[in-house]
């Protein structure tokens, strides 16, 4: 397992790095718009109407962006939690903590992929 983890480190780090970018910049903006500005009525209602959201989310680029927004932060969090676990004296338990966290991130990514494919094509 340790050897496999070592071989996968470049991929994990790449996903983690992109997760930081997406999680810090895009997801924050997304949360701000959906969680704060929209409920406060600071965004025009029609901006996120079902038809408009479907047109954006149903396009190829839209699906890719949604996949990135959903999946990459999972890798960021998994890697951060792994580092946290090691920092709290868990270097020895890393051999099972790391695969567990990355498996959760991989499962979440798979679910995000399925969800993105299930978005209906805009009619």
């Amino acid at each position: 397992m340790r050897k496999l983890l070592l071989q996968l480190e470049p991929v994990i780090w790449l996903l983690f790095g992109q997760g930081i970018l997406i999680g810090t910049l895009l997801l924050t903006g997304w949360g701000l718009v959906l969680g704060v500005l929209l409920p406060l009525g600071m965004v025009p209602e029609e901006a996120l109407s079902y038809d408009r959201a479907l047109r954006v989310g149903g396009s190829l680029l839209g699906r890719l962006v949604l996949l990135g927004l959903a999946a990459l932060p999972l890798w960021k969090e998994a890697h951060h939690l792994r580092s946290l676990s090691i920092d709290f004296g868990g270097a020895e338990r890393d051999v099972w903590i790391a695969p567990l966290l990355y498996a959760i991130a991989a499962l979440g990514s798979l679910l995000a992929l399925v969800a993105v494919f299930r978005i209906p094509f805009p009619g």
């Binding site: 050897k3 070592l6 071989q7 480190e9 470049p10 994990i12 780090w13 790449l14 580092s83 090691i86 920092d87 004296g89 270097a91």
Partner: protein, 250 residues
């Protein structure tokens, strides 16, 4: 005092593996002069108060990298650290994350092994014949890695690194910065070899970017930046290896 000195209390770690089970501390009252560095006080203790104290030092001008110690819990070059920065009590300990040989002297073998592991020399696929002249390098090419070549091997970054503390096999900041320095050298052709080492046991991906190494570096090498650049290069090299020659043995 009449001579302009002021007494400070030094709590110094003492450890003699032949006599002690575990490190203890000893307290010394030192008449500290204005502009004294921490090393001056340690030398005073050794010369005037207790000749049995062991500590390592040489150049006294922040070049040799010998006198690194933990001062009030922080890794410092003692020849560069002014006592004016501290209050009346100063705690001096050996560098953290290293085995102690005696008192304030730490074991260097593991550190030197990591240095050797990254192949810190110019690797050429084919040796250049003397008649071909020198390897020329422009100032711009030098500037790419110059900062990373300023390391004096003082080991402060290893004492500050939380990853070294938890994963002793981690290559560590100075060794990675040194390997990266050669990878970025326009005369070198060994990047692929070093990148394989970077991805192997003691992998550079263990670095969690706490940035403590760059905080304590007395020569402003910024090893954390070197590690991040090295990670990116190692990933690109890993991806390229599938295209050029198939997945490589890690």
């Amino acid at each position: 005092m009449a001579d302009g000195s002021k007494t400070k209390t030094f709590i110094v770690t003492r450890f003699d593996p032949d006599r002690h089970e575990a490190p203890t501390t000893e307290t010394y009252e030192v008449p500290v002069r204005e502009r004294w560095k921490v090393l001056d006080a340690l030398n005073y203790i050794k010369d005037e108060l207790d000749p049995t104290l062991s500590h390592r030092w040489s150049c006294r001008m922040a070049v040799c990298g010998s006198c690194g110690m933990n001062v009030n819990g922080e890794p410092k070059l003692t020849c560069k650290t002014s006592l004016a920065e501290y209050g009346d009590t100063v705690r001096v300990e050996p560098l953290a994350n290293f085995p102690v040989v005696r008192d304030l002297v730490v074991e260097l073998d593991g550190f030197m092994d990591k240095f050797r592991a990254v192949k810190p020399w110019i690797i050429k696929a084919k040796e250049r014949a003397v008649e071909e002249g020198p390897h020329r390098q422009s100032p711009e090419e030098l500037e790419v890695f110059r900062q990373f070549s300023m390391c004096i091997n003082c080991m402060l970054c290893y004492a500050a690194c939380p990853v070294v503390a938890n994963e002793p096999e981690f290559l560590g900041p100075a060794a990675i910065a040194l390997g990266h320095r050669y990878n970025e050298d326009s005369r070198d052709e060994g990047a692929r070899e070093r990148n394989r080492i970077f991805r192997g046991e003691g992998t550079i991906f263990s670095c969690s970017y706490a940035n403590e190494c760059s905080e304590v570096c007395p020569k402003h090498v910024d090893p954390a930046a070197a590690i991040n650049q090295a990670k990116f290069r190692a990933v690109l090299d890993w991806a390229a290896s599938f295209v050029t020659s198939g997945p490589r043995e890690e």
